[in-house]
């Protein structure tokens, strides 16, 4: 979990003019933000561009951020908006046009560092990535925040600016879809 107190202190330091605090903020959140971008955009270089843009936007707007326990929710919101903008760019559609056999989702095997390097495990991991990445944007955003990043329903409502009821129903729908996707997959093997 994210220690909110540390974020609050770092934001305060930054707002008092300490630039090194911003680098600490990046280091604290870069993996989570990159991961979100990776699942949203699938392609690693798009994810990197978008993640970078998220922190540039954060830098531009952080001086006006008022102290709030929802700093990380706010950062996630910037990330989703950035990814959705990124997707609307023609370049993205071009680069990410899925090949007919879905190879764009394939994880490179030569450098696969998963703990269990069996073929089955690689296939499963790749399938899970594909199942999550293949959800609609609305369902993907909630499931990334809930089941990958571990946010509470309240934090998700804040990050996505949706009601608790909507959070609840989207998480439920997302899980049903993932269940179906993973079941279909299991039947293939």
């Amino acid at each position: 979990m994210i220690d909110k107190n540390i974020d609050r202190l770092l934001v305060e330091r930054f707002q008092k003019g300490d630039r090194s605090a911003f680098e600490e903020i990046i280091c604290r959140h870069q993996d989570r933000i990159y991961n979100i971008c990776r699942y949203m955009l699938i392609n690693p270089s798009d994810a990197q561009d978008a993640a970078q843009e998220v922190f540039i936007k954060l830098y531009e707007n952080l001086s006006g951020f008022s102290p709030s326990p929802y700093f990380s929710s706010w950062l996630y919101r910037i990330a989703f908006n950035t990814c959705i903008d990124h997707k609307r760019r023609p370049v993205h559609e071009y680069l990410n046009r899925a090949s007919p056999d879905g190879d764009d989702f394939a994880l490179d095997e030569s450098s696969a560092p998963w703990p269990d390097k069996s073929l089955e495990s690689k296939e499963l991991n790749s399938a899970i990535f594909k199942a999550i990445a293949g959800l609609s944007e609305k369902l993907k955003t909630v499931i990334l925040l809930k089941d990958i990043e571990g946010l509470s329903y309240e934090e998700i409502a804040e990050a996505l600016d949706i009601s608790m009821g909507t959070v609840k129903s989207r998480i439920s729908r997302a899980r049903e879809e993932l269940k179906k996707a993973l079941k279909d997959l299991r039947e293939q093997y």
Binding site: C27, D31, D49, V91, S111, N125, D147, R175
Partner: protein, 163 residues
Amino acid sequence: MDCREAQSLFSEHIDGRAAERKALLEAHLKDCAACRDGFQELLDAHEAVGGAYRFKAPAGFAAGIMGKIASDEQTGEDYGQGSGKPWHQKPFSISANLGRFAIIMVLAIEIISGAFFAGKFFIEKDISTADSEQIFASMSLDYLGAAPPESIAGAYFDEGEYR
């Protein structure tokens, strides 16, 4: 509690949020094999998703951003309003560069075959660097049918990306 109501609570039950209906749901699961199986499948999928990859930011990510901010501030970039930085100013803009390269190739092929705007485009636009994004945006995606190989999507999956 009927099956329909039970199923509507599965997801919340996983998160420990079924609250006052929890006892009723558990009683139903005990008695109903179909719901029990359905719930178990949902739980299995939930666990699989929980074990999904967590990708890590590339090495040097934070330093790259700090470097970009410093150089933009030196050259008088205006931080504080909006974000619309041109792509060519971003470090690590590999996708943009590949896109630019690919589009120039496509344009070149079209020009050679004489099928693309009869060259008019090139008289009005300078394909150096800054305008390529615009050119790109102005083009129909149909022209981009020849998608690049998967090597682009699979570019640098390196060990450092997983956490």
